[in-house]
């Protein structure tokens, strides 16, 4: 049912296709990429040509091959950080909402504190002290610092669900807390968890690019962020090598946009009030043709 609604939603279809496209081409990078991404295969800053589809970088590396391989790392970091974020958000949000009392107080306090601390400066301080942080470490620090918002949303939804009759009934017949949480509550939270996860992936991809762009990442790894970093430090735009900067920019933007579209669609599918759009349009069309009266 859920999937069927998703398929009928044009935004979801566009989003999913772009996302699938990116995942496939990054996974198939070893087959598609014409050159080794780390090898010097041309002159510095060669313009795009049939030989080098997206030109070459300052180091004479093939930008097209690089962007494919970079996708592997950037997408992996995004998904890993998203999983960590979602897991912590789910664990804290569910326990705070379901158990209440002391547990709730402690978790809510921690959540509120993290929400008022500035995220990026906190990440910058962490990354600066850690030195040149590897992609795995980036995924980890993004994951453990960005769960607060999701946790708050899941907690409030759990609180609302807790008051519903089916939960009360489950408690009355003596179902253990474990069963109530995983069998009764969790399925009702799926859409929130799903959109929270997609949001976390978007955030992680963006943040990774930001951290690496300013030079806090490991410059020897190949990701969209380090591509931006190398392009910027070799002043690519000032010497007119726009492709060097624009290609990773477009990759990040398209991937982020595809996830955003998907997220928008998930929201619409999960919230019938927001979904009324298609029906409204049909209604207006019918009005125009005089099939119904206002």
């Amino acid at each position: 049912m859920f999937f069927k609604l998703l398929i009928r939603n044009p935004q979801a279809v566009i989003g999913m296709s772009i996302m699938a496209f990116f995942i496939v081409i990054s996974l198939a990078a070893p087959i598609i990429a014409p050159y080794d991404p780390e090898a010097r295969v041309g002159l510095p800053h060669e313009a795009p040509s049939s030989e080098h589809l997206f030109g070459t970088s300052r180091m004479g590396r093939d930008v097209f091959s690089q962007v494919l391989y970079a996708g592997q790392i950037s997408i992996t970091v995004g998904i890993t950080a998203g999983l960590i974020t979602t897991f912590i958000a789910l664990a804290t949000g569910l326990s705070a909402g379901y158990f209440g009392g002391r547990i709730d107080e402690v978790i809510t306090f921690a959540t509120n504190v993290i929400l008022v601390l500035p995220q990026l400066p906190l990440l910058l301080v962490l990354a600066a002290f850690l030195g040149e942080v590897s992609p795995a470490l980036i995924a980890f620090i993004i994951g453990v610092t960005s769960w607060a918002w999701g946790s708050r949303v899941i907690r409030s939804q759990t609180l609302a669900l807790r008051e519903k009759e089916f939960i009360k009934a489950a408690e009355l017949i003596g179902e253990p807390a474990r069963r109530i949480i995983f069998i009764e509550l969790l399925p009702n939270l799926i859409s929130i968890i799903g959109s929270g996860f997609i949001g976390a992936v978007i955030y992680a991809v963006m943040t990774q690019a930001t951290l690496e762009f300013i030079g806090l990442g490991d410059p020897t790894s190949i990701s969209w962020g380090t591509m931006l970093y190398h392009a910027q430090t070799s002043s690519a735009i000032y010497v007119g090598a726009w492709w060097d900067l624009l290609v990773p920019c477009v990759a990040i933007s398209l991937f982020g946009a595809s996830l955003a579209l998907l997220n928008f669609a998930v929201d619409e599918v999960a919230n019938p009030k927001l979904r009324a759009k298609g029906a409204l349009r049909r209604y207006k069309r019918m009005l125009k043709r005089g099939e119904v009266k206002a």
Partner: protein, 328 residues
Amino acid sequence: MQFFARRLSFYLVAFLIAATINFFLPRIMPGDPLAIMFGPQMARMSPETIDAMRDTFGFSDAPLIQQYFQYVVNVFQWDLGVSTKFFPKPVSEVLADGLVWTLFLVGSSTIISFLLGSILGLLAAWFRGSIFDSLATPGALVMQSIPSVVICLVALIIFGIGLNWLPTGYGYDTSLDPQWTFEFAGSVLKHSILPIGTLVVFQMAGFLIPMRANMINLLGEDYITMGRAKGLSGSRVMFTYGARNALLPSMTTLAMALGFVVGGSFITEVVFNYPGIGYIMFQAILARDYPLVQGHMLIFTMVMLTANFLADLLYVVLDPRVRHGGEA
């Protein structure tokens, strides 16, 4: 009053936690924390300065808890040590210079995007299902998911370098003296168009999307139907009946958004070499000037907490339920 006392004590604790993170970071890294903090710059500093720095950050042989206490007292006195990059300027002074610029950028772009985003969100909800709605809403979402690095770089390539319409760096024309003249103000304004513009693009969706969702939920309420049934004009129902209530949750978003903008403004300042604290932070990171990096986090925590407090105040003004002592 009790509401404010509770919020203020919460902010105090939050600030203390930020300071605590700063305190422990150099200490949990492997190696000598003093060497980590001041690293290669130590050779350039006189023994007296090193002693003073040791004092500020609480590096001593005393037990950890005493070191911590010493550090916290210094932070609350706004003694953040000396910058190693802008030696011998104290960190607090370096940051104060940049803060004006950053507040100018963040403040004006937030106000512009709040107004623009709320109005567009309102219209999208009102004309739900129209072409405007199905373009503006997903469009805003897509904009929001593009990192500010990309937005800034693309704006720089197009308007700064490609078309050469606008200056590409710094806060004002450096050949002018910073004075209260029209020429200088004009130069500041001209240099701020690109940074503020990119920040607005980056932020607007954050106001448009919630506004639209709130408004759609409100449009089903009885009092809206009632307003229409009374024969009130559409715009009156839209603004005084709908918008006023839909705006309330946006206020909390406003405070939350500021945290996000802080990130955005950092990148904007780096890309456009804008002399705010973001750019100073960037230079501090490049030079591994840890006292300055830490001071940056503390000052941004202060900005965030102040913004949250202002949001609390606004909430009280706008929501009578909170004003009359109820729970928020």
